[in-house]
């Protein structure tokens, strides 16, 4: 009787507790791509579904936000103590969120990040806070036939155009009269495009948005001799009508290179496939010119991290680690056209494998990429930089504009106590 009672109690207890033991703990995750209508969101959804099905401990529930207001939503949620467990964060913004206490270190075994492209690892204060599942790279889009017809050398990664070569090429193409403009830097894309795409040109001149040796000032970096030389060259692009200015029609930005309005275009790997489709083997993706201090392009795209408010960092980490495989890097790359994180993953993709149409972008990313200033102050400095470059393009005095930008960035750094540097 006693045995039967114990067995019955055990059975009932087992039935009662079975669902609790089997239930997955919910992990909330916020993602910036609502409405993007692209394969990136679809692949993230697939990643979440496969992670949830792969184990019994955690269930990731994703909420998508419009990218335009995503960062504001994060800041508001941090204030209200309502952050999710997992967040995605734009690489250059991560130090700000880590410094502000919105994120916690990932606590990941760094051996797992070996061989990753440099722009895909988000570090702040010596710790890894975020990891990207893809990266992006920019290049000079060109056509082999156009360059050859005008006697312009085709640059290589080992021997990019020098400043004089690049400038002479623009003048030659402009004087041919075949194009509306010789070069399309992409002035119609405001926002983060400006610091992402144009600050590497400044860096190649020898300047920068801030002084990276201390991160406590922009003095000398953004208004020194090299920066002024960059500013004057930048302004001359528009004065000489080599490039369309800030009033560029967004539609021209989108199709102007393919339509033959522009001879060269500064654009990202995400825009490369239509160019290949239009021009086939004639399409070229060339390295950034070397303006004297080496060729440089921007790095770091969206990455995943764990919010400081997460009560289950181990679950959040398990999800991120689940995604850190060549199979997922290749899946994202094939879905979105973005650059896979590792060389071995690149070999598994349609576009970045050896001989693939976008192979060159992996090399560009590996050899030329430089992350934007790793500082919490970057989010303010980037906006100041954007405005300064637009003003200079519109004819503002170069030295005065850069001095004013330095004052604004320095005032912000000071107001925030040096941002922890």
């Amino acid at each position: 009787m006693k045995t039967r009672t114990i067995l019955t109690a055990a059975l009932l207890g087992g039935v009662a507790f079975a669902p609790a033991a089997m239930a997955q703990t919910e992990l909330s995750m916020w993602y910036h791509g609502a409405g993007s209508n692209n394969q990136e969101e679809a692949t993230v959804n697939r990643l979440v579904a496969e992670f949830n099905a792969s184990q019994d401990d955690w269930e990731v529930v994703m909420e998508s936000f419009p990218q335009e207001s995503y960062n504001d939503s994060i800041v508001a949620a941090a204030l209200a103590g309502n952050l999710p467990d997992i967040i995605d964060v734009d690489g250059p913004v991560m130090p700000n969120w880590a410094w502000a206490g919105y994120m916690q270190p990932l606590g990941i075994d760094e051996a797992r990040l070996e061989g990753f492209l440099p722009g895909t690892i988000g570090r702040w204060g010596g710790e890894v806070y975020s990891v990207g599942l893809w990266d992006a790279a920019v290049a000079v889009f060109a056509r082999r036939s156009v360059l050859e017809d005008h006697g312009i050398r085709i640059p290589t990664l080992d021997e990019p155009w020098t400043k004089d070569e690049f400038d002479a090429a623009l003048v030659t193409l402009d004087e041919s009269g075949e194009f509306e403009h010789a070069f399309d830097p992409g002035m119609a894309w405001t926002g983060e495009w400006y610091p992402y795409a144009f600050s590497p040109l400044l860096q190649s001149f020898g300047g920068d948005i801030v002084d990276r040796s201390t991160y406590l000032t922009a003095e000398g970096a953004l208004n020194g001799e090299a920066a002024i030389e960059f500013g004057e060259w930048w302004q001359s692009l528009f004065e000489r009508d080599l490039a369309p200015g800030t009033s560029q029609d967004p539609a021209d930005r989108e199709t102007g290179f393919i339509d033959g309005q522009y001879a060269l275009q500064w654009n990202g790997n995400w825009a490369a496939l239509p160019v290949i489709e239009a021009f086939g083997d004639d399409a070229l993706f060339l390295p950034a010119p070397d303006f004297g201090n080496g060729s440089t392009i921007g790095a770091a795209s969206w990455q995943f991290g764990v919010s400081a408010a997460s009560e289950h960092p181990e679950g959040a980490r398990a999800f991120i680690e689940f995604a850190l495989t060549d199979e997922w890097f290749a899946a994202f790359s094939d879905g979105t056209g973005l650059i896979p994180v590792t060389k071995s993953a690149a070999q598994m993709t349609q576009n970045y494998a050896e001989g693939g149409p976008l192979e060159v972008f992996y090399e560009l990313s590996e050899r030329q990429a430089l992350v934007r200033p790793v500082s919490p102050g970057y989010v303010v400095a980037a906006k100041v930089f954007e405005k300064a470059l637009a003003d200079i393009a519109n004819g503002a005095d170069v030295a005065d504009t850069l001095d004013a930008a330095v004052d604004e960035i320095d005032a912000d750094i000071e107001a925030n106590g040096g941002y922890g540097h």
């Binding site: 419009p66 939503s73 508001a76 103590g81």
Partner: protein
């Protein structure tokens, strides 16, 4: 003064109509541009902006942008959310603000003037300055609902409605309107034994059609156009209103045709609401113009 002859009158009428037509065209142009652009592909939409073609449904016209706009985002859900939030807020605001105004105009209680002055003073405070403190408050407020007791109002309809029910402008509109109503009606009702609530409900409200319409339209516009507040208190698509939903269309290359289609669709409830109440709204505006 010279007598107005028929010829002069005709000329004046012609000039008046010309000016009115011109003003109407200026006000209609943005709407026409929005609707016409919603029918064009992006490339054509942008190239047409440099000519009068921008206002004409010419070229490659189709409803594709509408189909794409609905495929990109849950437009129906966003409109439903906005209509629920706006509708309930308007109804509650009319009730609460008119009651408040009634007590300021027809009742006598100590501190009345000071309280009204404080309420009116809130008109000069921009919402942006109180958004963060308000966010901190609502994120910690308790609530007892169907699911039981909970802390925090974020990601609900109530967080989008309750903080917006009472506001200085609506109370001010009612106070000004009630002041001009004949007090004899109130006194007569009181003599007949009506309670204060009966006076409010049976005497004052039936006479307040124009101000109710004006307050409703103004409140409707404020609520339907809400962006900052729902952006910071709603983190779930389930409760997202139309203006935050607009962000779905602003990608690296904004889908301008879809944006115009989306704007056209979300403008329809506003137009419908205005058309229903326009007679009373115009009467109210006209009456404020002939006072004194």
């Amino acid at each position: 003064m010279a007598a107005v002859n028929p010829e002069n009158r005709g000329l004046r009428l012609a000039v008046r109509y010309l000016v009115l037509i011109l003003i109407a065209v200026i006000f209609l142009f943005p709407l026409v541009f929005m609707v016409v652009s919603s029918l064009k592909p992006d490339q054509q939409l942008l190239s047409d902006t440099s000519s009068l073609r921008a206002f004409l449904p010419v070229g490659d016209i189709s409803l594709n942008n509408y189909a794409d706009a609905f495929a990109r985002a849950p437009v129906g859900l966003f409109i439903f959310n906005s209509v629920v939030v706006t509708g309930l807020t308007v109804l509650l605001a009319l009730a609460i603000c008119s009651l408040a105004a009634f007590s300021f105009v027809f009742l006598r209680w100590s501190g009345q003037g000071l309280v009204l002055a404080v309420i009116l003073a809130t008109l000069i405070i921009p919402f942006e300055t109180i958004a963060i403190p308000l966010l901190l408050i609502v994120s910690r407020l308790p609530w007892i609902g169907i699911e039981g007791f909970e802390i925090g109002w974020l990601n609900t309809y109530r967080v989008q409605i309750i903080p917006w029910i009472a506001d200085g402008l609506t109370i001010f509109l009612f106070v000004q309107y009630f002041k001009d109503l004949p007090r004899e009606l109130v006194e007569a009702a009181r003599v007949e034994g009506a309670s204060w609530f009966q006076v409010y409900y049976r005497v004052i409200i039936p006479l307040s059609g124009p101000v109710l319409a004006t307050a409703a339209i103004l409140k409707f516009l404020i609520m339907y156009n809400q962006y900052l507040w729902p952006l910071i208190v709603v983190q779930q698509e389930t409760y997202r209103p139309v203006m935050v939903g607009l962000g779905y269309y602003f990608q690296l290359n904004p889908a301008w045709g879809e944006i115009m289609a989306y704007l056209t669709v979300i403008t329809l409830p506003v137009l419908a609401f205005y058309l229903v109440l326009q007679r009373a709204f115009i009467a109210s505006i006209a009456s404020t113009g002939v006072k004194g």
